[in-house]
Point group: C2
Chain length 254, copies 2
């Protein structure tokens, strides 16, 4: 479980495990970090089953009885012999190695804290369309979704975005990101959330983001980075869609 001489090493080939299909879910936050760093990685489930890919590759780790430290759910990452689950935990692990995190211990913890707050935000974004749970389709819980989205847009959305805007504003390095003078993994995730909110709630997010000039600038900064642009142009980036975390149901965006 040790990596000799492996600090900041970009020669390792990471294996990312996330469901295949058009839902890119939480896997996308990990992809953005790997892409931005120019890390070598394989999106395992996108390989054909005959080459060890597809859903069976994921189930092997989720359900295999010989897995000593099984993840609860995708995404998870294999780095050599280490298997790491939970999006924020994966990014914490990758941060130092990919040069996408600050170096001092207190700032590392602060960056992780912001990522965990973003994780909470993402759960609430998801739950606007599935407040009653995952065993019902959206169409079966539309009324509850309207009620939940109303609270989310009125109270939670401005509260979360206002918080992250303040964090950029108070960054003593002056931005453009939340921690230090350089972009970190949490900035990549934040930009993805801004993009997702604009897809899901075009009206409400525009209104709230009007008061968040720093987050708008951060979004633009991230999506203008050369490796991120290359990723967006590669055809590998899947567009936002209604099988995913961020969904556009106009009736919820009122």
């Amino acid at each position: 479980m040790t990596y000799r001489g492996f600090i900041g090493d970009l020669t390792m080939i990471y294996e990312l495990y996330y469901w295949p299909g058009i839902s890119r879910g939480r896997g996308e936050f990990v992809r953005l970090a790997l892409e931005d760093a120019g890390a070598k990685y394989v999106d395992i489930a996108l390989l054909p089953e005959a080459e060890g890919g597809g859903v069976p590759a994921l189930e092997r780790f989720l359900d295999g009885e010989d897995i000593e430290r099984p993840p609860f759910a995708p995404p998870f990452l294999r780095a050599g012999r280490q298997l790491i689950g939970q999006t924020a935990n994966i990014l914490f692990f990758l941060g130092g190695r990919l040069n996408l995190a600050p170096r001092d211990a207190a700032s590392k913890l602060w960056t992780h804290q912001l990522q965990l707050t973003l994780s909470d935000f993402i759960v609430e974004i998801h739950d606007t369309h599935h407040p009653l749970g995952g065993d019902l389709y959206y169409e079966e819980q539309k009324r509850a979704a309207k009620r939940r989205a109303k609270d989310f847009l009125a109270n939670r959305l401005p509260k979360f975005l206002g918080y992250f805007e303040r964090v950029v504003q108070r960054n003593p390095a002056g931005g453009p990101g939340m921690v230090g003078a350089r972009i970190t993994y949490v900035d990549l995730s934040m930009a993805q959330v801004v993009a997702g909110l604009r897809y899901a709630f075009p009206l409400s997010s525009r209104k709230v983001l009007r008061a968040c000039p720093r987050l708008r600038a951060l979004h633009n900064e991230v999506f203008a980075r050369s490796r991120i642009k290359r990723y967006l142009d590669s055809g590998r980036r899947v567009a936002f869609n209604n099988d995913d975390i961020f969904r556009r149901y106009p009736e919820l965006d009122e």
Copy 2:
């Protein structure tokens, strides 16, 4: 932001910030770690306002314009000059210092991963009684709560508990906890969740826990630890109640 000679030091006085009142919420997971380690700490909001306590002490950090790294919400912890938010992040920070975490890097990350999975579980437990959001009382969202609780008890509760049971089972050290031969902070949190589930869903949790002998034993192990027992007997531990994460509404436990 540095702590000279402060690794594993128990002489520091930690400051825990959590809302006063009968809801002990996520603060309780931090308290259990501090209590079990015999750490010195002050539960700041329980002090009188005249002595720097009460709600204003929390608001000072949540809303103060001079706070460079503000937490999004309680609980947060002050350790010297460092301010740390997010329950799982606080426990990650405290783990090594309080001797409640394994020592190797991969196991530290694995323990944290389990705590993050437990955090996800806790959100879902909470949302059984508030599926439509925090701006409505339970009584105003009772029907939605019944629907959400039904899915939770049928699908999510057995899935989460079955997962953690397997983790203990596969621990090569043979338990009683999830990682290594000694109790870690995630075991303390797990025991608290088992206790909370028994309070909130006495019927359903008994049924599901029947298949989880290791989690039942872990719960007993934790609550038999001498410092935890002393905490429970101290009068400082607040009993489970319906202003908290775990709530007993018999109509949801069917």
